[in-house]
């Protein structure tokens, strides 16, 4: 038996169903609309587990599921040394979103990380606290800013409506995902020219710490031919 974890609702779930369907494997939810149960047709030994997309990285890391579909942004943010915990099997071509850093469009002097760093230093002197960047992607953003030598900032947690934090004076800048940039523009924000942290998309991952004995391997090999990934990536 091989457990496949996929997002339990919304567009991400539907597109995942479509992706597998196009490759001859039918995934569907069973029971009532509210019951999180699923069925698989066309792949022997594959069991469907419906999970919140945000929990799939953790379940993969713990080895409680063998395969999982989730955004590459979530895997990189939630798992330390992500590529030693999971193997990236197949980028799936949907769920595209860029994790970016954005600042008010009314800051003509800030277009690059270098500008942000300089503005942060002056901001701290003036206001007595560090320039606040609202995000829910703490690890990715912190690592990115450390690598690029940005100082005098602090991250503030924002689990939703992050674009509104600047207007609401709870942050000076944001790091969030965007696909079209509409929401950013509507909130009078602009993206730094070198502020692209990660280009995310829905991705099929395999858990390195899952139990791959007892018949799981042959199922993976079979899936690799039908889904078009390299089974030795694991």
């Amino acid at each position: 038996m091989l457990k496949l974890g996929i997002p339990s609702k919304g567009r991400l779930m539907e597109q995942t169903f479509d992706w597998f369907g196009a490759r001859g494997i039918t995934l569907r939810r069973t029971g009532s609309d509210r019951e999180y149960a699923g069925a698989v047709e066309g792949a022997e030994g594959l069991e469907l587990v419906l999970l919140s997309a945000g929990e799939i990285p953790r379940e993969l890391a713990a080895g409680r599921i063998h395969l999982g579909v989730t955004g590459s942004d979530l895997v990189r943010d939630k798992l330390a040394d992500w590529d030693r915990q999971v193997a990236e099997l197949a980028p799936m071509g949907f769920g595209h979103a860029d994790l970016i850093i954005a600042v008010p469009a009314s800051w003509p002097d800030v277009d690059t990380l270098d500008d942000l760093d300089a503005a942060a230093a002056a901001f701290r002197r003036t206001h007595g606290h560090r320039l606040r960047i609202a995000t829910k992607y703490h690890r990715l953003v912190r690592n990115f800013l450390t690598e690029n030598g940005v100082a005098d900032y602090q991250l503030v947690d924002s689990q939703g409506a992050t674009e509104g934090t600047v207007k609401n004076l709870t942050a000076e800048a944001i790091a969030d995902i965007t696909s079209t940039g509409e929401t950013l523009r509507a909130n009078h924000l602009k993206i730094l020219t070198d502020g692209l942290i990660h280009q995310s998309q829905a991705t099929l991952y395999a858990a390195r710490s899952a139990d791959w004995r007892n018949g799981a391997r042959p199922i993976l090999t079979d899936l690799s031919q039908r889904l078009g990934f390299n089974p030795n990536a694991l």
Partner: protein
Amino acid sequence: MALKGAARAEADRLMAAFRAAGAVAVEADILQPAEVLLDLYGEDIRGRAYVTADPIRGEMMLRPDFTVPVVQMHMAGGAEPARYCYLGEVFRKQEHLTDRKSEYFQVGYEIFDRENPVQADAEVFALFAGLLAPLNLRAVTGDIAILMDAVRGLKTLESRKAALLRHIWRPRRFTQLLDRFGGRAPVPATRARLLETLARGNSPVQAPLVGLRSEAEIAARLAALQEDAAAAPIAAEEVTRLNDLLNLSAKSPAALAHLRDLARDMPAIAPATDRMEARLEALAAKGVAVDDLDFEASHGRTTLEYYDGFVFSFHGLDPDLPPIASGGRYDALTEVLGQGRSIPAVGGVIRPGLVADLTEGAPC
């Protein structure tokens, strides 16, 4: 890996030696208010320290080091001069899958003394070198004050020097800034367009103002950017000399001679070079083999940013292992934590667990 008992036994031995050297044993809380540490180290500390929440006291951290609480304790009313020692666990989150420990003992020794900083530097180093001598470690020294004085002595805008000083501890950003200020890296396209707009007398602001950063703050930076664009680049020979200094790595006597050479064209580093010479004399007087002591001008640039003078570390043969001991001078930190007061201070820590590992592995 040494068992905790072996590490503690080694720690007790080191503490006894520190007490015998005249230090008063002090304690520090394991739970430290996160705000002080965050303000001091910045967001990076979140990636390295365990953060936890207290319902009354707010965000707390498991102590990532002793220096901050010991300095706070001293600044709150310690007698002068003072020598302190301490022993306890520190906690460091590991962001990578590694054998490095996230919880280990540190034994530390700190001197707060206005009278003779050079002697205090030598005292800490010689004490550590003596205690660690049986392990045949490689010691590396450096001096952040020389770097800071070299930057302060550049013939360029104060704003450029301030930016470089801020990034002494971030070598990559420092190099980028130096390339820009030296005219060796192109002006970013966005900056060039902005400067053109300003030069034509047009307003570059085309969006409603949102957020806490005010119009005046934006105007101040625009003025600073124009001033910077109008200023001459840092002269090529100054950049070359600074890079020569940053890359200096030699045995201490040769390093000192090289610094003396550099100081002829960079007079700003002469006083710190004098202090280095005095320190080497003080070390030699305490029996340290200074002829064989490594000096790397950039040593200490990638540590947590509070050292601003003499820095040192002791390393085993395994390059993957963290230093067995490290330390340095942190005069400015006492000012930051001293609420208006300050005192020259120097100190260091030894990791007894690593000492015990090496002692076990060594032939008797």
